[in-house]
């Protein structure tokens, strides 16, 4: 982080979600049911969408605080995660230890093409977490980035953030109910392709975005990995930001880096097209390196990459 200017004026983003222990296995492929396959490498990585995004924000020149539940303080894995957050300079004061519970844990299988396949256990009792009050959480906050699954404890601070005119970016990677409060508490909803389709009940990204636009005043986008990002402009017209073509070796955390970079760019006042391009570049560079979100590039690398790569032309899906 030596090339990141250290300043208390750097934008601060509150990331709300659940830290996850990512147990990453390098495999030739996901095994067929009933089979046993060897892994050629293994690494335990601190992960989870909000945590990964917080890494992206700090690497890219912002400040990040992480809020949400994790396992019992006696868990040895809990200290591993807190140590990693400390190394990245992420504020972890608002993480909550939930007595008797385990920190969420994922088995991550990464194939030779960098594609990751994930099984995650999150104890349902984690959703009973109660975060500190909004004044503590939102102090000095330039934006909130929240995991869509965390409405049970994140909705109140997000609603308060909107009352304070702080942007609220929601990372939606699973189907959301049309009655979900985060749909309307968000200023920016960034869906995965699967999530936007399942939320809308429409098997087409653009149509799904248009349908969801009837439910919320929020900015709406759908990320589609190497196929780029679809989004609706203020007039409701469909726009597309292409992905940068790279040789991917590990896509684990790439979407989270995208969300973190996009949110940081918003706090910097970048217009949406520039923010999406910045986020695409950060995510693309991350994909070229192994190690989950800890493979996120530094700001200077992303700036150099953007300077050297004219905007790729958008492709239809």
């Amino acid at each position: 982080m030596s090339d990141t200017p250290i300043s208390s004026n750097r934008p601060r983003v509150l990331c709300i979600g659940m830290p996850v222990r990512d147990l990453a296995f390098r495999v030739e492929g996901v095994p067929p049911p009933g089979d046993k396959v060897p892994a050629s490498a293994f690494k335990e990585i601190a992960g989870g969408n909000a945590l990964n995004a917080a890494i992206g924000i700090t690497r890219l020149g912002g400040r990040a605080a992480l809020a949400g539940p994790m396992g019992d303080a006696a868990e040895t894995s809990a200290q591993f995660i807190l140590d990693k957050l400390g190394e990245e300079g992420i504020d972890s004061r608002h993480l909550l230890h939930m007595p008797g519970l385990v920190t969420p844990i994922s088995a991550v299988m990464i194939d030779p093409g960098g594609e990751r396949t994930i099984v995650t256990f999150r104890d349902p009792a984690l959703w009973q977490a109660r975060l500190p009050g909004p004044d503590a959480l939102l102090e000095g906050c330039g934006a909130v980035l929240v995991e869509g699954r965390c409405a049970s404890f994140a909705l109140a601070p997000c609603a308060e953030a909107r009352r304070r005119a702080i942007p609220v970016v929601v990372d939606v990677d699973a189907a959301m109910s049309p009655r979900e409060g985060l749909l309307t508490a968000a200023s920016h909803l960034v869906f995965s392709s699967e999530a936007v389709r399942r939320t809308a009940g429409i098997d087409d990204d653009a149509g799904a975005l248009r349908k969801i636009a009837q439910l919320t005043p929020s900015f709406l986008a759908a990320t589609r990995g190497p196929r780029g990002t679809l989004w609706l402009d203020p007039a409701g017209a469909l726009q597309e930001t292409a992905a940068f073509p790279v040789q991917a070796v590990d896509t684990l955390g790439a979407g989270d880096i995208f969300h973190g970079a996009f949110t940081l760019a918003l706090t910097e006042g970048q217009p949406v097209p520039a923010a999406l391009r910045f986020a695409s570049a950060a995510a693309a560079l991350k994909c070229t390196r192994f190690g989950g979100a800890f493979a996120c590039p530094q700001r200077a690398e992303v700036e150099a990459f953007l300077a050297g790569n004219p905007a790729p032309s958008a492709q239809s899906s």
Copy 2:
């Protein structure tokens, strides 16, 4: 273990292999490549073929010692495994800590039908382990049970065991080279169906057994889960021991319990058909319970099950 008679005359089986951290996720199914799926339960279990078999041997009335390499002594997971072995009464004096290495680790996905799908990382440097000399390992030993993958450090004690007329049972769950020393150092080779086919290069269990019989004087069997066990009698004729039909909820470790029970029965002087039936009953009961090999039944349960269940009729595959 209160119903197991405690006696120093109980047969002692030396189990050679690698302890494994089994991270077991209860899932609806193995995720499609690139997908993310939730798990409804998670449990970290001490596992590995030899360790699981050792649990089976002690639960079923024998004594077991475990020998082989595991990760650095500073690993927190190493102590977890040693604690579990202590609780089961398994002799762990011959386990070796390999400095700087991690204990093998598996992601295990268990579906609603109990079928397990496994990804395992074993550091290749673990195969450089050097076990204690044969006099220490084989002291009071009624049989050796060894993981087929461990020839690099297990072949010498197995060969010495055969010189001492101690049975050597090899659990073969991956293809073996025809020049593999364990093929001839074994008194009993128990293959998985996939392993026997891949070893022989023949896509038929019976044909594969017959081909391998040309390479070794060992007893040969192929286990096929619910489809029972094929084996060759001393005259080279194909025999079949049926599996007991049960409602499986977790097959993790069932094969290992089979191997442990079979080896224990051999040390007790049971003839092969009875030993295979005993092993089938122990494995079947294990499949009805969640928890890997720690769901192994006690001896009295297996005896009661055998008394209550006449030999099932063999089915063709």
